[in-house]
Symmetry: none
Subunit: 217 residues, 4 copies
């Protein structure tokens, strides 16, 4: 029988332990936990993101984590959805330059988001459940991006010799590639360098300059 030894009397129990039903709002606590997970994954890698460590960072016990998430897998899935929710806010900025600006800001301020995203992408490769989420949300992301680019093309601010669809694909991949290298070569991604990279992207997708008319004599 797996009845553990009697729980100690109240006198015996650790003095400060808080038991019983606490106040908190369920959703709020869940959000806190998600933040803790992202933070741990970003800073210690997915392999280091044990439930214990997550609980520790969130300031609760392991049991609490498994109380809010059925599974580790479910927890990670929730994290991925949460991350995309954050990234989707980028899409609200129709202007392509403004969006890159925002992106730039996030790289600095919410670096954890990118780090975690990258780690999870690697994990998702072998976890079909997670892969499905990535497919769904990435597809949506690229679709919006493409439609923005198409608008830019019709306005003449984006080159139109490459379809908006392909451009979206290329830009998305480029962003991912940087996100990927960012943690490995942080020195390469100081604010100034990022600015330069973004400018180059703008140039890359700009319509052929009129200047191009006389480049070579």
């Amino acid at each position: 029988m797996d009845m553990p030894a009697r729980a100690p009397n109240r006198n015996e129990s650790r003095s400060i332990v808080r038991r019983g039903r606490p106040v908190g709002d369920r959703e709020a606590k869940r959000a806190d936990l998600l933040k803790a997970v992202i933070s741990v994954i970003a800073q210690e890698g997915y392999a280091g993101a044990s439930l214990r460590k997550v609980a520790q960072r969130a300031g609760c016990t392991t049991g609490a984590v498994t109380y809010y998430f059925e599974n580790k897998e479910a927890m990670v899935a929730a994290v991925i959805e949460h991350l995309f929710d954050q990234f989707d806010t980028l899409l609200d900025f129709a202007d392509i330059k403004e969006r890159f600006r925002r992106w730039l800001d996030m790289t600095g301020a919410d670096a954890d988001l990118w780090m975690a995203q990258f780690q999870l992408l690697a994990v998702a490769r072998h976890e079909p459940t997670l892969a499905v989420i990535f497919q769904r949300r990435y597809t949506r992301y690229r679709r919006v991006l493409a439609s923005n680019l198409a608008k830019g093309q019709s306005e003449g601010t984006i080159r139109d010799d490459i379809s908006a669809d392909l451009l979206a694909d290329q830009l998305s991949a480029m962003g991912d590639g940087w996100m990927m290298m960012l943690p490995i070569e942080p020195d390469r991604f100081g604010p100034r360098r990022i600015q330069v990279l973004l400018d180059a992207v703008i140039a890359l997708i700009a319509p052929p300059r009129r200047a191009a008319r006389r480049p070579r004599g």
Copy 2:
């Protein structure tokens, strides 16, 4: 112990090999093990790449693996070097189109290499020892790529309104981004689609059309 802990680069190791003497089973066995590691990482993810599984795939015992590699970390380091050795062969093709062609081939034939590379990149994020290797070899890779692009610029086959250095950075990132999504959305990367993507890249870095518009006129 008289065996080297770190896997020397190919260049270094070549030079130390005793001339007249057969290279011995040691190096061969090590190479077999490296292949096994890559295969396991590619197919089961880094998390699934236990020494046991590696040994199993290589058809030997766990002891053998720890005998040939001082450490798991040392083993992984050796794998990374090995992977870059493979990728470096891409750089032998000076022509940009030809290189993309090769890249395309590798994506299909040696898909394991990409998968493993991606997995290890994620791991390296939190393993300074491994991160250093990536920095060193990536930098070298981009330098060669940039010099190739510079040559293309001077020959007028590559647009020169963006510095070769930045172009190399962008292309490298784009390639990484695709490598990253390839395992997640394999359907998006059928041979035909890849062809289209590569054509678009060529267009992206080509000199502005006007030049292209009236070569035939």
Copy 3:
């Protein structure tokens, strides 16, 4: 990365810990473990038979147990087979009385066997893998018992108004029932009482006295 902190140097390690390849015979050690499992199950019940406790009783670590048995389930399956192997030795005694005598002895000396058997039977109810083993071996057991009884019937030492098959079924069930109550009411199963019970069984399956004398006429 889940490389644990470096293992401590030999100097630091616990003084008496034995590492490296030991001498023992694989099968012998496995048998020892099986005995430990039976002992634990018998004395603490199946619920109390944690791998930890088994290892403790066997004088090794938990890891060792999982080294010898792929699973807890596999371990339990091995135990069941082992138990039936022991019980099968009972079948070597063709004479019905002699067999009961042996059975009596086992009840006293190897009481652990019965206790464990009972516990495992309860568990098997909800573990198909284990249930299959019980079915197979119980069927075999009853078949041999029935053939022994049939021989007794043809020799006139066993009543023949009930088929040997049914008698085997009844006796087997009766034995199981006692095995079941034995741990609950040990006081009811002292040597003397068991003797009485067995005598009663002999009487139960003996040919009707008068009828045997002048069968039908």
Copy 4:
């Protein structure tokens, strides 16, 4: 706390029930919970009978279970008493054949009772508190059975060469043995086979035929 920890026997509880007042939801809810526990134990085994699952099946929260039962142990004890209350109804049928008939019916209709009984018997082996209950109630059960058999002996319908006490013991064990195998080999216990088994039992305890031929003359 003013609620009773142990579940009183039916007889006892009946007497304490306040006369004029409605029995209240409390007892009803408790009974519902008991049914849920039995159902869970029968279908998932004792190991699977967590408080959570019980609550789930009863359609209430975990807290409710611990509210109605001081302990898991107390809950289980209540279940055992409840089970014996059910079985005791068998004893109301003095006629031996009629009782077996009833027994047969229960095997089919209330199979859960047997399954749970068996599971709990295994658990009780190592839980003195529970074992005591089994001893008390089993003893009572056998006493009534023996007195019934003694009556049969005096009426000449039961063989009298074996004491009623021993016969009760044997029959009880046989029944337990079948109960034990029933979940393991359900195929062996179809309605027809059970009928045959019961007939054989009747034959087993019947007086030697010759006597039966000329009953009392």
